[in-house]
């Protein structure tokens, strides 16, 4: 492979992330890690363990469970919690649906992605969290590229893109008023390949759906949708079994599969290097409009 240089992890990125995680621990009273079970939040957990070693990670994990997760993700989550001894707090989207705070989308492209925001904000409020550490990266999406490392959200969890605090040198200003909270992004400056190279170097375990496996899918407009109880199938659509894997871990209803035979982290890295499609290209939630991400962030999304 010619592009071997893309397989090196710049260690400085780890130093930077650990610095940010320690600032979150020092500046806030009740921080938590938002844990989705995806590779970015798994990376965050490892970084947090390193940041406070030999002490304990001073944050719980918070998982916003849409109820549409891949079962493999949940299995993985519970195993990680058991192994690390971290506290896990789950916020259920179903609870908000049952309480009629949110209504499910209907139709062929319905997803619970947008409903998560309500559950996230409710969970933040009930736990009185003043900071949530997340695995979002600036290279994922152009609105994220504009977001601060310490991103202040108002009482309603909203992001005001045009009125962000300047972040200079290493200074992170986490001062907030009661009710406000801060989203903290320690791996802001990492790329998708940085994360994969880190997973390889640290020998991190990841959910099995990242690796190639056989799965029932429906092909729609050239996109492979994982077939499950959560998606509507038209009468003329065919369920086929294909060898696929997932490049990102979202809900079963909004994450497209990728035809792939990559079985190891090494092979995944080769595949990511060779691809001509970006990571969020497989997220159906981002494909809705050019400003989909900015619009969701503005109302409190991660």
């Amino acid at each position: 492979m010619k592009k071997d240089y893309l397989k090196e992890f710049p260690r400085e990125m780890e130093d930077e992330a650990i610095y940010i995680i320690r600032e979150a621990a020092a500046q806030f009273e009740r921080p938590a890690i938002l844990f989705s079970g995806g590779k970015d939040s798994i990376t965050l957990v490892r970084l947090a363990q390193k940041a406070f070693y030999p002490g304990k990670v001073p944050f719980p994990l918070v998982h916003i469970d849409t109820g549409h997760n891949f079962p493999e993700t949940i299995t993985f989550r519970d195993k990680l919690v058991a192994e690390t001894g971290l506290e896990l707090i789950v916020g259920l989207v179903q609870d908000d649906i049952d309480a009629k705070r949110v209504a499910e989308e209907t139709g062929k492209f319905a997803s619970r992605n947008i409903l998560q925001t309500t559950t996230l904000l409710r969970t933040i409020e009930s736990l009185k969290l003043d900071a949530c550490l997340g695995g979002a990266r600036r290279d994922e999406e152009k609105a994220r590229a504009k977001e601060r490392v310490f991103s202040v959200r108002d009482d309603f969890g909203q992001w005001d893109a045009k009125n962000q605090r300047p972040e200079l040198f290493d200074y992170l200003n986490g001062r907030i008023r009661p009710g406000e909270n801060v989203r903290v992004f320690p791996i802001s400056n990492w790329t998708e390949l940085d994360v994969w190279n880190y997973i390889r170097e640290e020998k991190l375990e990841i959910p099995s759906i990242y690796y190639s496996h056989e799965r029932e899918v429906i092909e729609r407009n050239g996109v492979l949708w994982p077939y499950s109880d959560f998606i509507f199938k038209d009468a003329d659509e065919v369920v086929q079994t294909k060898t696929v894997r997932f490049r990102t871990v979202g809900d079963m209803s909004c994450t497209a599969a990728l035809a792939s035979t990559a079985n190891t982290v090494e092979q995944i890295i080769e595949e990511v290097i060779g691809t001509s499609v970006s990571e969020r290209g497989s997220r159906l939630d981002d494909q809705r409009s050019e400003a989909a991400m900015e619009a969701r962030k503005a109302v409190g999304y991660f």
Binding site: E12, R22, A51, F52, Y53, E294
Partner: protein
């Protein structure tokens, strides 16, 4: 692998976005779906060419108005390095965003339109690069295709720029001027056939070969927090976690804790669960010392014998970043390292005009985006270095206690 940080500043007309887009395109850093999205958006806007600014202008308001408002971060790799570009707007009303973008840069890339030469905006960009002591400044004289690739035009602009740089104080910067055409790709990743008279390196080659500058100054480490596990295997462990901001420290070295002034010896340097004998700048480590002395967040570890002076009265350049004017009666919070205490700007000595480079008499307060030299008083002594000697320990921010906004950034004189 090295990480190299670049700051760019400019407006749409400079061809800055096209230049960045070109770099990404020619280093295979844009994926097809992103390119297709830009193609679709360009067509919708009725533009005949690929509008690469759509790649970096991530906010709806920026795309609507066709301007860059906030700093965007862009990432790409070459076989030599990982590059992080902080792409900032160029107009005077965004001076604070320019400083934000430039604050961690090792190289400033300044664009000059070959048809216009050195203009007010060039002065501003260079003044900021100079104020921040960015080690390298690369001036891209762009749109050379529109002046027939004329060596004469280029040489005049180059000389004008060097004259400008000679008029400002920091002469240790390394300055390189390159004739480019970002639209046609001249001298970006390969040497231009259209300008055989230019014998220097193309932009990317230069960015790959400039040595990563080491943080200047002796050992400084602001303490972020104390780590006391109190578990069975580490019952008596007491470590101080922080990121080395400059210099280097070894196990066995004598260290002094500031502001208390108490000294001890480094007994261990822990990183990621392993012990090492040395820590150098930018590393996040946990340090253990021989004596049980009181150390907490806000304190700074320094090498004994190389202590900075503890001062309560300071002189500094600041850039005001808030919509409320600076108030010399009111007190603010100053953050220096991990220390946050009360401070007051007692006097504005002069306001720096970034276009004419003149020092102006101060009026009431300071407005957003104004840069000024001020006197500052802090509630307790701070272990500061002059920015010029130790950039990492020579900066601070001011925070408004009531709005909690970061209202200014400063550089100790």
């Amino acid at each position: 692998m090295d990480v190299f940080r670049i700051a760019t500043a400019g407006s749409v007309d400079d061809g800055k976005s096209t230049l960045i887009g070109r770099l990404l395109y020619e280093t295979n850093s844009i994926t097809t779906d992103k390119l297709e999205a830009i193609e679709r958006a360009s067509q919708r806007k009725g533009i005949g060419f690929l509008d690469l600014s759509l790649l970096t202008d991530g906010l709806v308001a920026e795309r609507e108005q066709g301007i860059t408002i906030d700093v965007a971060h862009i990432y790409f790799n070459t076989p030599k390095r990982k590059f992080i570009i902080a792409d900032s707007p160029g107009h005077v009303e965004y001076t604070r965003n320019m400083i934000t973008g430039a604050s961690r840069a090792q190289t400033s890339v300044i664009l000059v339109d070959a048809r216009k030469g050195i203009i007010e905006q060039t002065h501003r960009h260079y003044f900021i690069a100079n104020l921040l002591r960015i080690p390298y400044v690369i001036v891209c004289v762009n749109k050379m295709d529109l002046v027939n690739y004329s060596e004469e035009v280029f040489t005049k602009i180059k000389n004008d720029f060097l004259k400008l740089s000679a008029s400002l104080p920091n002469t240790q910067q390394q300055i390189v001027v390159i004739p480019v055409s970002s639209l046609h790709g001249d001298n970006l990743t390969t040497r231009s056939q259209n300008m055989p008279w230019y014998t220097g390196e193309p932009l990317l080659t230069l960015l790959e070969s400039l040595p990563v500058p080491a943080a200047r100054g002796s050992f400084r480490m602001p303490v972020q927090l104390a780590i006391r596990p109190r578990n069975e295997s580490h019952h008596d462990f007491r470590g101080y976690a922080g990121r080395v901001s400059s210099g280097k420290i070894n196990v066995g070295d004598a260290v002094t804790v500031l502001p208390s002034g108490r000294s001890s010896k480094v007994t261990g340097i822990h990183k990621n669960g392993q012990e090492q004998s040395t820590a150098t700048d930018r590393e996040s480590v946990t340090i253990t010392i021989a004596d049980n002395i009181d150390i907490s967040r806000g304190d700074m570890l320094v090498r004994t014998g190389e202590e900075p002076t503890l001062k309560t009265e300071h002189k500094a350049f600041i850039c005001w970043m808030d919509s409320h004017l600076l108030d010399t009666v009111k007190s603010y919070l100053i953050q220096h390292g991990t220390q946050r205490i009360k401070a007051k700007v007692t006097q504005v000595n002069f306001v720096q005009d970034t276009a004419s480079l003149q020092q102006l008499a101060p009026s009431e307060g300071l407005k957003m985006n104004e840069i000024a030299q001020v006197n500052l008083k802090t509630a307790k002594p701070l272990p500061v270095d002059v920015y010029h000697d130790n950039p990492a320990n020579g900066t601070f921010i001011l925070i408004d206690e009531f709005t909690n906004n970061t209202v200014a950034v400063g550089f100790f004189e």
